[in-house]
Symmetry: C2
Subunit: 212 residues, 2 copies
DNA sequence: GTCTATATATTGATAGAC
DNA sequence: GTCTATCAATATATAGAC
């Protein structure tokens, strides 16, 4: 049993090569079908190994699931570097900041889906502090970026940046997960991509959110 | 087999008393844990009956799941009557329209959760047209209400009401599903309830969305 | 570390009495 | 309509060879 279930959520796991291959194969499966929707047989088939070997690396299925979440959290966290000042000039700052995050979601859809599954649903007995931590970090950094824009005068100073952040995260989440359905609605016939539609929504919202 | 899987999604089901009790017991379970997270044994225990009796009323587990979705869709649809003109006067129209919908979500959390699970995740082999229909109806009606507000001069006429609708639905969904996590963030220490926070967010957005 | 083979519990679903 | 008893399949997990 190389993994401790009581380790801090943030602490990076030390996975052997074999364990890492299993986690990488399991993560997209769990992301697509959830904990109880994926069997050890499915994972063994995906990784090209045996069921017994999975139980050699992980004490049970839940431990593997938790490790998969830890793995994608770590992966996403590394992508959350702040935007360089040089990239912030020109255009609508909200469209830029939000668009960057939406693009990250589409860049790693499996990781995002697995984490969102925990945030929105919550699987049986999984500690939510694990996903709450990455959400909080993501959110706090986003609020900080918005405060920077307020100081720079590109976003109105008389509004709560947390409310703007939550609006943008909610919109991005909605577009990421429902665009296939939304695209069939006549009301969105004029928008080709979720990115374009999200940008249009933010431009609309900005009429009251930004100076200049 | 009293149920046809090929019946139109909108057509109301004619459920016997026993079948209705099973569906009512199954719906919150499916809402909380998904299709594969709930066993027939779980449902039998919840309804206080036997497994065999479930298979007497429904040909298989999937048919029961579909019927549960149909049931909650029907339940939610009946709550979607348009707002009377008399109730629309005074206050921020966006806060009023959005708050009414958010309250509906908290009033029937199991139904909402089950439908959102279909919208956001999609269970194995379930026809999405069933949930897409209620989502489209909900969305279309909301856009219509926003157009009414535009005509009445309470909402800016130069913006696409669909973008406002999607923003509000995204915000409501986010608050409904993540408030327990958000409430722990320091950025939201000033808001006691998701309703209050949603209202504050809309007041902020309104500074550019509404006239007056 | 990886495997085959196996143990054991739980799954969805059926048979047939009442 | 509801039940007990049972089925076959699949689930998680283990034993032990290599």
């Amino acid at each position: 049993m190389p993994l401790s279930a009581t380790r801090s959520p943030a602490e990076p796991a030390v996975l052997s090569e074999g364990a890492r291959r299993i986690v990488c194969a399991a993560a997209p499966l769990f992301a697509a079908k959830g904990f109880s929707g994926v069997s050890i047989t499915d994972i063994a088939a995906a990784v090209g190994g045996s069921k017994a070997n999975i139980f050699h690396h992980f004490p049970n299925k839940k431990a593997l699931y938790i490790e998969a979440i830890r793995f994608v959290c770590q992966s996403l966290r590394s992508r959350l570097e702040p935007v360089a000042d040089a990239d912030r000039a020109g255009g609508n700052p909200l469209v830029m900041l939000a668009g960057r995050r939406l693009q990250q979601m589409f860049d790693e859809p499996d990781a995002v889906r697995l984490i969102l599954r925990e945030v929105f649903v919550g699987e049986k007995g999984i500690d939510r502090s694990l996903v709450a931590e990455i959400l909080q970090q993501n959110f706090g950094q986003f609020v900080g970026e918005l405060r920077d824009e307020q100081r720079a005068g590109r976003v109105r100073r008389d509004i709560d940046p947390a409310l703007v952040a939550i609006t943008i995260l909610a919109l991005n989440n909605f577009f990421f997960r429902t665009w296939k359905i939304l695209a069939r609605f006549e009301e969105f016939a004029g928008y080709d991509t979720p990115q374009a539609c999200a940008a249009a929504a933010l431009e609309t919202l900005s009429k009251g959110l930004t100076n200049v």
